[in-house]
């Protein structure tokens, strides 16, 4: 009796895991099926690399892909020094009490709603950029700056976690040899933690590529290729959020599934990248 209960429970737990995995694949299949009319119509390259020119019946998302990276890459570049500095203080430069406080604060920051960052960005940052630097204000720069603040907590948590996971015996050996805090951090902890930190970097880039609200609210959403940081841009996520065609069968509407597929592939690529990094770390150890 007991064993059959065990078997039933196991089957139930397995089916729940199975359902979740099947649903994950279903998202991708759904988007391919719904995007099919678009792929049948245009040439394959036109969709991914082409420009958005409804007059000619071409609905390429090339500019949205470019816009996504135009905003996400600077956000990661801006966030990197902030995250490195803060995780250095958490993992080595500050004392244990400061460490606890800072970690709690950073954890709290990961929970601040994205829409609030966007809201403050519109009323604090956009007017400032418009007046000081010119341009429309809603631009690549505004979106990347706010996005940088948004992804920094994720990066800090990963960075400081990998730094603190370094074998304490190594750190103490360096200490016994007379290495100061910054020396232990730079020459003992940092080299060993690089793998884990790379994971954090990839995940933060993934968050920046997949965020919707910041770019939607702050980047201006203009169709077209941004030529500089003060130009507006439209991201893949923003494009999905903005298309509200009444006609579900129009090619214009179908283009959002191409955006969805691109984003899904970015996610898959980042997960695979993280797995490679982790495997490399294990082999090195």
């Amino acid at each position: 009796m007991k064993t059959s209960g065990d078997a039933i429970a196991k089957a139930f737990f397995l089916s729940c895991a199975g359902i979740s995995a099947v649903m994950t694949s279903a998202v991708f299949l759904f988007m391919i099926v719904l995007g099919l009319p678009l792929f049948r119509k245009g040439s394959f390259m036109d969709i991914w690399m082409g420009t958005w020119s409804p007059a000619e019946g071409v609905f390429g998302i090339g500019h949205m892909i470019a816009g996504t990276f135009w905003i996400a890459i600077p956000a990661v570049v801006l966030s990197l020094p902030l995250s490195l500095g803060t995780s250095f203080v958490i993992a080595g430069l500050g004392g244990p009490r400061l460490r606890e406080t800072l970690i709690s604060l950073v954890r709290f920051m990961t929970g601040i709603p994205t829409v609030i960052y966007g809201f403050l960005g519109i009323f604090l940052l956009v007017p400032l950029i418009r007046e000081e630097l010119g341009g429309p204000g809603m631009c690549v720069l505004a979106a990347s700056m706010v996005l940088a603040v948004l992804i920094t907590p994720t990066m800090v948590l990963f960075f400081s976690h990998s730094l603190m996971a370094v074998d304490p015996a190594h750190v103490q050996a360096a200490r016994a040899l007379g290495a100061g805090r910054i020396q232990r951090l730079l020459y003992v902890m940092l080299p060993e933690a690089l793998g884990g930190m790379a994971t954090g970097l990839v995940l933060a880039l993934g968050r920046a590529l997949g965020d919707t609200l910041i770019a939607l609210m702050l980047a201006g959403n203009a169709l077209g290729m941004p030529a500089g940081f003060l130009d507006p841009a439209r991201t893949l996520t923003g494009h999905i959020a903005l298309v509200q065609a009444a006609d579900y069968d129009s090619l214009e509407f179908r283009s959002i599934f191409a955006c969805g597929i691109a984003l899904y592939l970015f996610t898959t690529a980042s997960v695979i990248a993280v797995r490679f990094i982790e495997r490399g770390k294990k082999e090195a150890a």
Binding site: G85, V89, G111, F119
Partner: protein, 294 residues
């Protein structure tokens, strides 16, 4: 000499960057408090309507945030109720039953699921709604139920992972005692492992509730609207706090509406802060209670 100079510079820059990060965030929160506190009050939520009448459903609130607050509450309750059983069971499977190879394969799917941008989940929910509308019933369109299902899907990987990690991090002595005394796997799970891991599981759940409350991208494709009143059924459209904030930022007509936007930001931030603190407290106290029944 060069080396000490570099070390000193890096130390200085690290402290500076930490200072910059926290000043930016504290400035944001301070600005929000400065703008939002003056508007915070009964009329922000209930407008001119009597609060008791509104809560009991006897009167409609027209110029307050009450429908949006209720919409967010329904959304959070529904999607958590939908995600919990599947998420916890899948987490238990990964931690306790899955052979290593299967565990890695499932883990790959859940990592992807956790990384899928929320707007893509929203698009999926929207497509499902359109599909059901065409093939099953004309009554189905983007609505509260579709949003809740999509949000449940969004937070599923977090619940799976926090359950899995909570169980896996239990030390071996706890894990092995009951089976040595003749308990079955399921008994060990129900009476020993889950009570010990409960606090970490629950604090993971509370954090995922926070994600349900704050997510905007999923709901904007699956049925949220600017004015709908309190939803009358699972198939009706609804309002929600984060969408209200997004909507106001682009569509505000006058200063009063903008002020309400700041008020809404403050309420939403407050909800997330309370959930965050709750998660921390649960982590500290719940296991003790579950095990010793005090």
């Amino acid at each position: 000499m060069m080396r000490t100079l570099m070390e000193k510079t890096i130390t200085f820059l690290s402290w500076l960057m930490t200072l910059v990060l926290f000043s930016v965030v504290l400035f944001f929160i301070g600005y929000l408090l400065h703008k939002g506190l003056p508007v915070l009050g009964r009329s922000l939520v209930f407008g001119e309507t009597d609060p008791m009448q509104a809560i009991l459903g006897r009167a409609r609130v027209f110029d307050g945030l009450f429908p949006a607050v209720m919409g967010t509450l329904y959304l959070v309750l529904l999607s958590t109720a939908l995600a919990l059983p599947i998420g916890i069971s899948a987490g238990i499977y990964l931690a306790e039953y899955a052979p290593p190879a299967a565990g890695r394969r499932f883990g790959f799917f859940f990592d992807i699921l956790a990384g899928i941008p929320s707007i893509v989940i929203g698009l999926f929910g929207f497509s499902v709604a359109v599909f059901l509308h065409k093939h099953f019933s004309g009554r189905i369109s983007p609505c509260l139920l579709i949003s809740a299902l999509s949000l449940a899907f969004l937070v599923l990987p977090y619940i799976i992972r926090s359950t899995q990690v909570a169980l896996e991090s239990l030390p071996a002595p706890i894990r092995r005692t009951a089976p040595a005394l003749g308990a079955t796997r399921l008994q060990n799970l129900v009476y020993v492992l889950i009570p010990h891991a409960l606090s970490n599981i629950v604090s993971g759940i509370i954090l995922s509730i926070g994600r349900c409350a704050e997510d905007t991208a999923v709901i904007m494709l699956t049925g949220v609207v600017a004015t709908a009143g309190i939803p009358s059924s699972l198939l009706s459209q609804y309002e929600a706090l984060p969408f209200y904030i997004y909507y106001i930022s682009g569509q505000y007509a006058d200063q009063a509406e903008l002020d309400k936007g700041y008020g809404a930001c403050l309420i939403l931030l407050g909800i997330c802060a309370v959930l965050f603190i709750l998660a921390g407290m649960v982590k500290k106290h719940l296991t003790h209670r579950a095990l010793y029944k005090v």
